[in-house]
Each structure stands twice: as structure tokens, then as C-alpha cells.
């Protein structure tokens, strides 16, 4: 790892200013994606702007209609929130399946979403629940946020401050872990709102998390495993690597979606 300057601002505005001043600066939240890449020499920022000392940067608020999670909230905080468990049990469950204890104690929702790893779990929850991502500048719908592999709609220097998840009628999360890394080899996050409209967020299968619209259409009509038994997921555009072929990932989407329907609550 190369040497870097370390900053720990107390406000979002100060953080933005520090990053702007830096030659090649990076925000850091939990550091559990950023630091490993620096150790491997894949990133060598001149300045690290640590966001975790910003006032009110973490916390969970549950209203009648939405769960709002501040960007600096750790996976562990979500995974142990009784309030979230009550209203969106699938989100609570999903957070508990991210990495191991150390990762959950440090990694944050903001960092996960900003990083947009194609195999990360939160992106599927954002899409599957129709979340809104709030930054220091604006609000972005999840559908418009994940734009590619490790790419998002965030502009230079923009900071995620919170993620708002509407509370659905039912939800479910199914993850088929990569046997080695335990990230999602393929993961499906599904929700059904009060009107019966279904959203299906898929992660791990393509360059970026996406919505499985064919499944959504079928399930919005009839929320049953039978309804999607005939929906064929096409492997085109899905990833092939040593752990899974595109065809296998396509198959997993179907299997996991079927299991999600059965598990939804």
C-alpha cells in the first residue's frame, strides 16, 4: 500500500471540499472494499477522506411507509435492527448474509451502493424494493442509479447520505453464494407492494444489478411459483466466469425467484 494523506471531516461540506482539493482523493466509509484494493495495489489514492466522523452519518429510521438508512450505517446495524426486521424482514435477513462478522461490523450501506460491485447484495435490495438514494445534492431512484460494472449515477465528489426503502407488503431475499468469496454468485431480492405490483432485483448475474422484468410481469399478475415456471431467463448478457456460466446464472435466477415467491412474507 502506498502512503496517503488521511482526513476525517465532521461535515459533508468539509468532506466535499477536502476531496476537491486532493490530487487523487477517495472517500472511505467502512474501508472494506477500498482498503483491500489499495493493499493489492489496484488503487493508490493520494488522499483518503474518511466519512465516518460526519455528524449524523449513520442511523436507522422506520416510518409508516419507509425504512430510511443513513449511508454510514453498518451491515451489522441493519442485521440487528428489530425495527427493520418487523417491516422488511428480507432486508434484515440480507444484511446478515453479507460477508463475515468483521465485514458486517465495518462495511456500510453507502459504501456498498457507491461501489456497485456486480456481486454485492444491497444493489438487488435497492432495485427489488424500489429504493431512493439520497445524496448531498439530490435524490436518485434506484432504477437510475446502477449504470454498469462498478459504475453509478454519482457525480464526482457526490456523497450518498441515505437510502430510503418503501415498505412493501411482502418481500424475500434469496442468495446463492459464490462458493469461494461468498458474495452473491446470483442473488434475487423480490417485493410485492400493496397493489400487488412485484419488483425483482437481481445481482451477481450481470455486469450490474438489474430488474428481471419478465418475472415481475408474470408475478404481478399471479404471485405464485407456477406463474414463473414458464418464464425462461435468457443467458444473453449474463456473466460467465470460472464459478458460473451465463446459462447457470440464468437458471439460478429462475430457481431463486421461485424460492423467493415461496419464502416471501
Amino acid at each position: 500500500m502506498e502512503n496517503f494523506n488521511y482526513h476525517r471531516p465532521a461535515t459533508t461540506a468539509a468532506a466535499v471540499a477536502m476531496l476537491k482539493k486532493a490530487k487523487d482523493g477517495k472517500y472511505m466509509a467502512g474501508g472494506h472494499t477500498l482498503l483491500p484494493t489499495m493493499k493489492q495495489g489496484l488503487a493508490a489514492p493520494t488522499d483518503i477522506v474518511d466519512l465516518t466522523a460526519i455528524k449524523d452519518f449513520s442511523g436507522i429510521k422506520v416510518s409508516k411507509t419507509a425504512v430510511s438508512i443513513k449511508a454510514g450505517t453498518t451491515h451489522m446495524e441493519v442485521a440487528t435492527s428489530k425495527d427493520i426486521k418487523k417491516v422488511i424482514p428480507a432486508l434484515w435477513e440480507m444484511a446478515g448474509k453479507i460477508g463475515g462478522v468483521h465485514v458486517r461490523n465495518k462495511g456500510t450501506i453507502g459504501g456498498s451502493i457507491a461501489n456497485a460491485d456486480p456481486a454485492a447484495d444491497y444493489p438487488s435490495a435497492c432495485l427489488g424494493l424500489g429504493a431512493t438514494i439520497e445524496t448531498n445534492k439530490r435524490k436518485i431512484e434506484a432504477d437510475k442509479f446502477f449504470t454498469g460494472m462498478f459504475e453509478t449515477a454519482l457525480k464526482d465528489g457526490e456523497i450518498i447520505t441515505a437510502v430510503h426503502f418503501p415498505i412493501p407488503k411482502k418481500s424475500a431475499h434469496q442468495k446463492f453464494p459464490n462458493p469461494a468469496s461468498r458474495y452473491a454468485l446470483t442473488g434475487v431480492f423480490m417485493s410485492q407492494d400493496a397493489k400487488g405490483k412485484v419488483r425483482v432485483g437481481v445481482t451477481g448475474a450481470a455486469a450490474s444489478a438489474f430488474r428481471a422484468t419478465d418475472l415481475e410481469a408474470a408475478l404481478s399478475k399471479d404471485f405464485s411459483a407456477k406463474a414463473i415456471a414458464g418464464v425462461k431467463i435468457k443467458p444473453n448478457g449474463l456473466l460467465t466466469d470460472m464459478h458460473a456460466t451465463a446459462a447457470y446464472r440464468a437458471h439460478l435466477i429462475s430457481v431463486l425467484a421461485g424460492r423467493a415467491v415461496a419464502a416471501a412474507k
Binding site: E2, Q40, F176, P179, S181, L185, M242, A244, T245, Y248
Partner: protein, 792 residues
């Protein structure tokens, strides 16, 4: 032998564990010497390339840099290259084609991770930064990754081997075996791949080399399983210094699994370079990425194997052809692994009159391959047990009964492939395993699993292995460059405490406990009055180290011999002290008594008298109580057993879980059953790892190691193991006749037995015949898909 609560046979808690689990171990990286510098190795980014030039000018000026060395410097200093200590002769009588293996590449790199230069600096980070400033101009050459393609590849790894073939070795009677196949009623033929593995001991390799100007001598701290062998090789072949001017210390070592037997470039370079930077010590600690790239890997065999069976269901012959990858260079013991540790075990537990095996060892542009937990025997067992199981299925016979019908039942048994099995009772282990696993109710469990969408299968592995390596003259005649005896010295202190100096090396095996248990039983002293000294060539005169499950059968045998001498000497002292004849002295439970009297002396008292010399004639009895012994084993020892595995395969995803595992092993007598159980559990975990999870994959096109970290290389975790309630261990016992303890070896059995048991279970579950390891979800699902397609 007496069965006390801390003696032989007792499940004593490991004496060393408190130290290790409270962070008080003393590993190589924990050691820091005065004025120490740090080394970083610049490694080849290419699988195969010429080195056109290396420019270190800019790097040398970087902050903190103390020295930079490349292959040319090593050559100039006439530092010898790494060697393979076992020579194999080809079928046609020609010698092994060993290419040069300089400690820093000279003119050519041959795998990704090959050592190009070493940078020595004040800090690790400075060394690494400077290494990045070295400019190397490479001329990229074609490379070959796949062992099966090596002999036909246009890439040529070494000049000496035009077809990349190191040797073409054979064992057994080809003609007789061919005849057996001609007359066979049934032939089972399989293509079998044994996947390449990365050992991944918990502690990565490390070394500190230090040259002392005053005495012109070197000290090398290193993560070695056999420091004396390291000293011998570095002295005799690298020519660094004569043995009395080179001290090698292998302090606490955090696991090896074979990968720390070998002499590696890094440790030699650290010692050598220390002299060239004015004698400042040089420390190198490998990181996990380097371990993946540059530790010797294991396995990597491509095999065609056939079994001939007569009309009565008896196996009459086996014919095996294996291509074994050696990697880019011949590592220290590599040549022995796919030959004398492999071909000699192809008879398994069976009476097979005709066996013929041929092995082509080939160079590939990958990390060198050498011994890894089991070394050759897992590969042999995998071939035999996959064949036997498949043959039984093809013949519609119960795989347990088909095995039983072919078991060797009388001993000693001479196989057609060198080994002479001394003792065993294979049917006893089979019966016990069948009972413990409740085999007769398997179909009920299968039906239960089916209700949950799971395909359940059962697989057997009736393994045998040869360890306690090995009779020196025998291995010498087969090409070994060393003898495989062991040494021991017993020093009894004046107050009766005991120090055991042993050439065995403990790196997880628990020698501090088990060796002390032997002393406790033989001398009647408390195990806490015994210390085990090992791993330092200045303390222990000579030894051959720990691998091949040899430290019990060979290492303890040497200790036992030395203890016998101690007893004999102590009896003479006791006799003099108690004014009786030596013949009347009896020794039991730590007390010397005079037959027919009430005279007695405790062991400690006799020890004190031995050093006082007040009560005996010192011209007849020498002062002191210290004895040593060398022991050369009369034969290998032959642990064997039956493992039965049940798996559940998820029909939807192919995800396979080991639902149930039964291991019944015959290790002869057990010194410490708890440690033995731990060895079996750990070995089985590694075997399950090989079968379900692990596999080193190099990209064919780029030659890069794709599985270069735990993000892609799947090490077994607790969750991959069967639940402890479904992981049953049992033992049968036929004591080994060639050592007084009656023990065999237990360190590798699990890793040897488990892979075929697991794969036989999966193939049973999903109904395929052939399936490659590791049986990942993708692999199993793909196999199920192609069966579905074939059925349509």
C-alpha cells in the same frame, strides 16, 4: 505398555496449545534481529519469457534501498541452483531431465511468480516500492499450462527436455498385465483427473538470513519441516557454506502439509545476500498472494486407468497411464511423488495379480508441483477407488461386497508393485464402517432426502497408504538422494527431568505432547517433566524431518531406542547404588527395585546418582545419563481403513453437501487418540476440500493464476464439513510389527481417503459415471443437465 493418564494411549490435551492459541508462539516472522533489513522479490508477470534486460539503476536510488540482486549476481558468485533430491530413471534407462533452477532467474522465466530479482531495503514497503521501479524487458514465449498438452506443445520449458517430458517411468509387468486384460470378462476404463491444489498452510513461508562476519557463518531462520535437510542441501548443493558454518533454525511453524519440506529460492537468497550487504540480517515474509503463486502446489495428474475383472468378479489386472505435471521446475522431492509414492500404492487393499503403470512427468509453465498431504497416495487411492466403485456399479454388485471379495486377507502380502503389506484386517474396518454408517438403512435416508428435493448418494473408499517413510537402503535403490532414518537424543538432567532432542519437526502435529507421552510411559516421569527440543541444527545433530507421517513410526522409534539405552544405563547405576546385580534390577512406573527385596530407588534419584558418581566406579560406568540413537525403519507402515460418505445434492442448483461421513481407520496402536482424531478430521476436511471446493486454475491463454486468492480459491470452512454428529470416527487395530509401539501413521489418511469417497457418493447421487473434481455447484449442475439432455 502401561496405560497411565498421561502415558501412551491417553487423550492428553496438547501441551503446546495454550502457547499457540494465546499468541505466544514464536514463528519466524515473530523473530527480529538487530539491524534487520527486508527483502521483496520481484516476480515474473509472464508464464514464459526470456529476460532481455533488467535495469535496476532507478530502483537502486529509491529511499531505503540497501541492495538489489538479480540472476547474474547469483551466477557470478557461483551459488548453486535448487535441486531435486530424487532421481528417476526412465523405462528406456535414460536419466531424469532436470532443467536448471537458479534461485534468481537467469535469462528466462518459466512461470508467473518466478523469482526475477530481490530488493533489500530498510522497510518492507521501501523494498516493494523499489521493486516496482525495476525495469525488466521480457521477450514473451509460448507457454503450456495443461499437463495433458505438454508433450505436444510448441512451448519448450527447458532445453534438456525437448518434448517437456522429464521422465517416462514404469512399474510392473506390462506383458502379464496385458494378458490379464485379454482374458478379462469385464474391463472398466476411466479418464481421471486429479486436480491441482494450493497447500495454504496458515502461516505463509518466511525466512531470515544472517551472515556473521566474525565467524564467517550463516544463520537461517526458516519455515521448514526439515531444517537439517535444508542445511544439507544449502551446504552441499548451493555451496553457500559448509554445514558447520550454517545453522538452520525452524522455530514454531504454522502448518506445512508438505509445502514446507522443500528448499525454496527465497530462503537461500536471504541467507546468501546477507553476506553481500555487510552481514545485516534479511527478513522475508511471504504474503498470501505469493503463497498462491510460488509455494509448491500439489497433485495435477491426468490419468487413463483400466481394471480387468474375471467372470467370478475377481480383479485380475490394472493398467494405468498418468501424465503428472511437475510445473516449471523440479522441486525438492517432486520426482518421487508421481512414481514411488504413487505407482506402488495402485494395488490398494486388493489382491491384484497384475499391475502395470506408466508415468510421464512433464514440465508446465506453472508453479512447481511437489508433495502435499498424502503425496502420491491420494492420487493412487483416487484412481483405485474410483475404478473399483465404478466396476462394482457396472457389474451391478454392491460396492462394499465387491471390495470385500477382492480384499487382501493374508499377511505379509507382496503386491506386484514393490510394497509388501505387513499386517491388516480390511474386512474388520469395512464391517465396522458399514455398521457405524448404518449402511443397511441408506435407502430410507435417500427417500427422506428426496422429499426435500435432494438427491442422496453413498460412496466408499477403502484406502491403504504407505508411510513412516522409509527404509534407507530401499529408497536409495529407488533413487532417493538421502536416507530416511531418524535420530533422537535423550538427556536426563540430574534432577530427573528429561529433554528429548529429535530430528522430527513439529508444525501442528503435537509432538511436544505425544513424544512426552512415550517418555512418560517408558521412564515413568510426568509429561510436564519432559521437553521436546527440535528444529535447530545447532541443538539437534542431524535429522530428516517431518512428512510422510513418519514422526511416529520412525521418529518415536528412534526415541524409544534411546530410551531403552537410558533404562539400561540407569539400571547399572541403580544396581551399583543398591549393591545388587544388574540382572536383579527391575524398572517399572519410574521405580527401580531389586528383585526379591524391598530396596528401591526412584528414577530421579538414580539420575542424580548418575551425575554425582559417588556410588559407582566411574571407570566402569560413565558419569551422566544421556543416550542417543538413530533408527532406520525396516519397512513402510501401512495404515488402511474404510471411509463411507453420504452426500445430498440439491436437484435445482447442484449444490452438494456432505451429509454424513464415517471414517474407520487402522493406525495400529494410538499414542494419543484425541490427536489422532484431530488428524483424521483435518485430513478429511482437506479431502472434502479437494473433492468439492479446491482447484488451482491457470488461464490457458495468459498463463496467469486465476485462483490467486481466497476470493476465487475455495478453502474448506467449518460450514463445508458434515455436522460433528454426522462425522463419525472409528478405529480398528492391527499393531504394526516393525516398531515397538505398534503404531502406523495417521497424518495423511484423511486427505488420502476422502476424495474418492465423496466423488463416489456424488456420482451415485446423480447417476453419472464420470465427474471431475472439484464438484462445484456449476460442475454438478452441468453434469445433471447433460444427463437430462441425453435422456431426452
Amino acid at each position: 505398555m502401561a496405560d497411565t493418564n498421561t502415558g501412551v494411549g491417553a487423550s492428553v490435551r496438547r501441551k503446546e496449545d495454550l502457547r499457540f492459541i494465546t499468541g505466544k508462539g514464536n514463528y519466524t516472522d515473530d523473530i527480529n534481529l538487530k539491524d534487520q533489513t527486508y527483502a521483496y522479490f520481484l516476480r515474473s508477470p509472464h508464464a514464459h519469457a526470456t529476460i532481455k534486460s533488467i535495469n535496476t539503476a532507478k530502483a537502486k536510488k529509491m529511499p531505503g534501498v540497501v541492495g538489489i540482486f538479480v540472476g547474474e549476481d547469483v551466477a557470478k558468485d557461483k551459488l548453486g541452483g535448487l535441486i531435486c533430491g530424487w532421481g528417476i530413471t526412465s523405462k528406456d534407462g535414460s536419466g531424469m531431465k532436470a532443467g536448471p533452477h537458479p534461485v534468481l532467474a537467469q535469462g528466462k522465466v518459466r512461470y508467473v511468480g518466478d523469482h526475477v530479482a530481490v530488493v533489500i531495503a530498510e522497510t518492507k514497503e521501501q523494498a516493494k516500492s523499489a521493486a516496482q521501479a525495476i525495469v525488466v524487458s521480457y521477450g514473451v514465449l509460448p507457454h503450456v499450462i495443461d499437463a495433458a498438452k505438454a508433450m505436444k506443445s510448441k512451448a519448450q520449458v527447458h532445453e534438456v527436455a525437448s518434448d517437456n517430458r522429464v521422465f517416462n517411468w514404469s512399474l510392473g509387468n506390462e506383458e502379464a498385465t496385458n494378458a490379464a486384460f485379454k482374458n478379462a470378462a469385464h474391463v472398466t476404463s476411466m479418464d481421471i483427473v486429479n486436480n491441482r491444489l494450493v497447500p495454504n498452510a496458515m502461516e505463509t513461508r518466511a525466512a531470515i538470513g544472517s551472515y556473521e562476519n566474525g565467524t564467517e557463518s550463516y544463520t537461517l531462520y526458516t519455515t521448514s519441516q526439515n531444517p537439517h535437510v535444508a542445511r544439507l542441501v544449502i551446504s552441499a548443493f548451493h555451496g553457500l557454506a559448509p554445514e558447520h558454518k550454517l545453522r538452520v533454525i525452524a522455530p514454531d511453524v504454522g502448518g506445512g502439509f508438505g509445502s514446507k519440506i522443500f528448499i525454496y529460492a527465497e530462503e537461500v537468497v536471504c541467507a546468501w545476500a546477507s553476506k553481500h550487504i555487510g552481514g545485516r540480517p534479511i527478513k522475508w515474509t511471504g504474503d498470501r498472494s505469493e503463497a498462491f503463486l510460488a509455494d509448491a502446489h500439489g497433485r495435477d495428474h491426468v490419468t487413463k486407468a483400466e481394471m480387468a475383472i474375471d467372470a467370478s468378479g475377481k480383479i485380475t489386472g490394472m493398467r494405468v497411464h498418468t501424465i503428472a505435471a511437475m510445473g516449471a521446475y523440479l522441486s525438492t522431492f517432486s520426482a518421487a511423488v508421481p512414481t514411488y509414492l504413487y505407482g506402488t500404492l495402485l494395488s490398494g487393499q486388493y489382491n491384484i495379480p497384475n499391475i502395470y503403470v506408466e508415468v510421464d512427468a512433464v514440465y508446465t509453465n506453472t508453479a512447481p508441483v511437489d508433495a502435499y498431504r498424502g503425496a502420491g497416495r491420494p492420487e493412487a487411492t483416487y484412481v483405485v477407488e474410483r475404478l473399483v466403485e465404478t466396476a462394482a456399479r457396472e457389474l451391478k454388485q454392491d460396492p462394499a461386497e465387491f471390495r470385500r471379495k477382492n480384499f487382501v486377507t493374508s499377511f505379509p502380502h507382496q503386491t506386484p508393485v514393490i510394497m509388501c503389506y505387513d499386517t491388516g484386517d480390511y474386512a474388520a474396518a469395512l464391517d465396522k464402517a458399514l455398521e457405524m454408517s448404518d449402511y443397511k438403512n441408506f435407502s430410507k435416508r435417500k427417500a427422506e432426502s428426496a422429499k426435500n428435493g435432494k438427491l442422496r448418494g453413498v460412496g466408499f473408499s477403502a484406502y491403504i497408504e504407505a508411510c513412516g517413510i522409509a527404509p534407507s537402503a530401499a529408497v536409495g535403490s529407488l533413487g532417493a538422494g538421502v536416507g530416511l532414518w531418524e535420530s533422537a537424543e535423550v538427556r536426563v538432567n540430574p534432577i530427573g527431568t528429561v529433554e528429548i532432542l529429535t530430528g522430527s519437526h513439529s508444525h501442528g502435529q503435537g509432538h511436544e505432547t505425544t513424544f512426552a507421552q512415550l517418555v512418560s510411559t517408558k521412564l515413568g516421569v510426568d509429561i510436564n517433566s519432559v521437553s521436546i527440543v527440535h528444529g535447530d541444527t545447532d541443538k539437534v545433530q542431524m535429522g530428516m524431518g517431518t512428512y510422510g507421517s513418519r514422526s511416529g513410526a520412525v521418529g518415536m522409534h528412534a526415541i524409544s531406542k534411546a530410551l531403552d539405552k537410558i533404562e539400561a544405563k540407569a539400571k547399572r547405576v541403580a544396581a551399583a547404588c543398591m549393591e545388587s546385580s544388574v540382572d536383579d534390577i527391575e524398572f517399572k512406573d519410574g521405580t527401580f527395585t531389586v528383585k526379591g527385596t524391598d530396596k528401591k530407588m526412584a528414577f530421579g534419584e538414580v539420575a542424580l546418582q548418575a551425575y554425582l558418581g559417588h556410588k559407582f566406579n566411574t571407570s566402569e560406568i560413565e558419569i551422566g545419563l544421556k543416550e542417543s540413537a538413530f533408527h532406520d525403519p525396516a519397512n513402510f507402515v501401512f495404515p488402511a481403513g474404510v471411509h463411507i460418505c453420504e452426500v445430498e445434492v440439491d436437484m435445482d442448483t447442484g449444490l452438494t453437501k456432505v451429509a454424513d461421513y464415517t471414517a474407520v481407520d487402522d493406525f495400529g496402536n494410538l499414542i494419543n487418540p484425541m490427536i489422532v482424531e484431530g488428524q483424521v478430521q483435518g485430513g478429511v476436511a482437506q479431502g472434502i476440500g479437494q473433492a468439492l471446493l479446491e482447484g488451482a486454475i491457470y488461464d490457458e491463454d495468459s498463463g496467469q493464476l486465476l485462483t490467486g486468492s481466497f476470493m476465487d480459491y475455495n478453502m474448506p470452512r467449518a460450514a463445508n464439513m458434515p455436522h460433528i454428529e454426522n462425522f463419525r470416527l472409528g478405529f480398528t487395530c492391527t499393531p504394526c510389527p516393525t516398531n515397538p509401539m505398534g503404531i502406523k501413521g495417521c497424518g495423511e489418511a484423511g486427505a488420502i481417503a476422502a476424495p474418492p469417497a465423496v466423488m463416489n457418493a456424488i456420482t451415485d447421487a446423480i447417476g453419472v459415471r464420470d465427474l471431475p473434481m472439484p464438484a462445484t455447484p456449476l460442475t454438478v449442475w452441468t453434469a445433471m443437465q447433460s444427463m437430462k439432455k441425453a435422456a431426452e
